[in-house]
């Protein structure tokens, strides 16, 4: 009696996902069968065994080439078949999941609502966090931009030396560029409506540090500073408010009185308008005038390329200290990342809120998972039937996974849309409550823009590159939790045969 061909049987039931070695073996086996059959036929016609084999090979043509071609094509066929199976399974699972959700609308709605709320809260919280702490300041090469702090920290140092007679020009040369400003208020008495506006006297390095290119007109020139020219730049907001966006404002001479420097000239020519996108660390931006040539401590400095913060700080401290005497040994000049300084006071709040939102998301994931597990109990019958009909635990697990993914995707979409609405509605309020302006002007609204890596985030396009990972993370968390049912299917009662 002949043994049954187990090997053939095994091949017959093998799933499409075969390995390369198996494909090569299959092609070889098929071609060998062909050669053997042809040789047998030739033998029957009277050829010797060796001749028959040789002729079969000769007739075949380029065997090596055909073999290679068949292996290559077979691999592609295989991959496609695998992908097609996967897709058709996914479609089936999705259809089934949607039918199930329709069958228990209350449960689905509750799950989605809980989850969407949690995603909305954490997405909104993390958008704010990102706007303040993660997005770089909207200045060129902001990563090298440092705040100069007269003391070891932002806290008030009890015995600070007087810095009145320090020659700050010697500090300027340590850095690529520095910016100093003296905040001031200006009265504009002309016209029908006198204005009191916030402005500043700014140093020659200011424009370069902030990357300002006037929207119309020109920037301050070296001459303006050298000759202490009576010129001014105005903000887009003031241009709109007071001058109705009239381009003829450039070159116009207006009267203005400085609050802090009453002896400065009052007939001042407006030479340019700042771009609408201009954002500064403080709100004194409606009017800029060239700072008179005087020694003034810069507030911002950009490190030389390749210079570390510690190195810059050591040099800064040495230059300043050399001009002072009897300094408390605990005192020193220090540098601090400009973005860090800007958000120094609100960092703990933001981190706490984001943490809370994350915990809420976790709690929601837990409760949703709990709900799903609870429902599993009522679905035991359905699952038992599927198992009985030959559903493997892997296949049923995938079905359950698809259900969770669909739930999470719907909830995630609603959550992100809600987060956007929330930010639009209360963004300005958040900004006021936190007491620090949002770098770049506004909290990035969640917009449907393909997420880009944060490193590319130099433009002003607001995109949810930070919020998306969060939604995805929550999807992942639910998936993980929702996989619990799969464990349960494993423990389903197995009928004795």
């Amino acid at each position: 009696m002949k043994m049954p061909d187990f090997n053939g049987l095994r091949r017959y039931v093998t799933l499409p996902g075969r390995k390369r070695a198996r494909i090569v073996r299959d092609v070889d086996s098929e071609l060998e069968t062909h050669l053997a059959m042809r040789a047998e036929a030739l033998e029957r016609q009277g050829a010797t065994r060796d001749d028959a084999r040789a002729q079969a090979l000769r007739e075949f043509g380029d065997l090596a080439d055909a073999r290679q071609y068949c292996v290559e094509v077979s691999r592609r066929t295989d991959r496609r078949a695998k992908w097609r199976d996967w897709l058709s399974d996914a479609r089936l699972d999705a259809g089934h999941a949607v039918r199930l959700m329709r069958r228990s609308p209350a449960f689905s709605a509750a799950t989605i609502a809980v989850f969407a709320a949690a995603i909305a809260a954490s997405t909104a919280a993390n958008s704010v966090l990102r706007a303040y702490l993660i997005r770089p300041l909207p200045f060129p090469e902001a990563d090298r931009l440092m705040s100069i702090v007269p003391g070891p920290s932002l806290a008030v140092f009890p015995r600070s030396p007087s810095l009145q007679h320090v020659d700050w020009k010697r500090v300027d040369s340590l850095f690529e560029v520095t910016a100093a400003w003296d905040l001031d208020g200006f009265t504009l008495p002309d016209g029908s409506r006198p204005d009191y506006i916030d402005g500043a006297w700014v140093s020659p390095g200011f424009s370069k540090t902030m990357g300002i290119t006037p929207a119309i007109g020109r920037d301050f020139t070296a001459d303006d500073f050298a000759k202490h020219a009576p010129v001014a730049l105005i903000s887009d907001a003031l241009w709109e408010r007071r001058y109705g966006r009239d381009p003829r404002i450039v070159g116009t001479t207006v009267t203005m009185a400085s609050t802090d420097r009453p002896r400065e000239q009052t007939r001042v020519t407006i030479v340019g308008v700042l771009p609408r996108t201009f954002w500064h660390l403080n709100r004194f931006t409606d009017l800029l005038r060239p700072l008179p040539d005087e020694s003034r401590m810069p507030s911002l400095a950009r490190l030389q390329r390749g210079m570390s913060m510690a190195e810059g700080e050591a040099k800064l401290d040495a230059v300043v200290r050399a001009q002072l005497s009897g300094v408390d040994p605990g005192w020193r000049m220090s540098l601090m990342s400009a973005s860090e300084e800007h958000a120094a006071n609100i960092r703990p709040i933001l981190v706490a809120i984001s943490g809370a939102a994350l915990l809420m998301l976790l709690a929601a994931c837990g409760s949703v998972a709990g709900g799903l597990v609870g429902r599993m109990v009522s679905r035991r019958q359905e699952l038992a039937i599927r198992t009985a009909l030959g559903g493997t635990s892997g296949r049923i697990g995938r079905q359950l996974l698809t259900e969770s993914v669909i739930l999470a995707t719907i909830a995630g979409t609603i959550g992100v849309v809600a987060a956007r609405a929330l930010l639009v509605a209360i963004g300005p309020l958040i900004e006021r409550q936190l007491g620090a302006t949002v770098p770049g002007g506004e909290i990035p609204k969640v917009e449907v823009v393909p997420p880009t890596p944060p490193a590319l985030d130099r433009s002003r396009v607001h995109h949810p590159s930070f919020t998306f990972p969060f939604s995805s993370a929550s999807l992942f968390l639910t998936r993980t939790f929702a996989n619990v049912p799969r464990v349960i299917t494993r423990s389903l009662p197995r009928r004795e045969p």
Partner: protein, 110 residues
Amino acid sequence: MADSRLELLQGTLDLLVLKALTWGPMHGYGVSVLIHQQTDGEITVVDAALYKALYRLEHDNLLASTWGVSENNRKAKFYRLTPEGRKRLRDALADWRRYSSAVEKLVGAT
């Protein structure tokens, strides 16, 4: 016989393979023999080209294959037409008839 082999255009080979499989599922050698016999020995397909065609047609979803056991108890891969394959065969046959009758009109003109 081996001397009279014709070089076939690729489209023609596909047509022959698809047509051969309308006799029912068969392995590569079977296809080769069937084409040879049905054309009264006029056409012998080079085996290398035949197998390339079989794999290509399977990739294009015109053929499907399963492993089975041949009539003399060898493990062999059996090909059969898929519904797409049948449709392609119908189209290819129609094209072929138009083409060959057009050529015949010219060549047979007196």
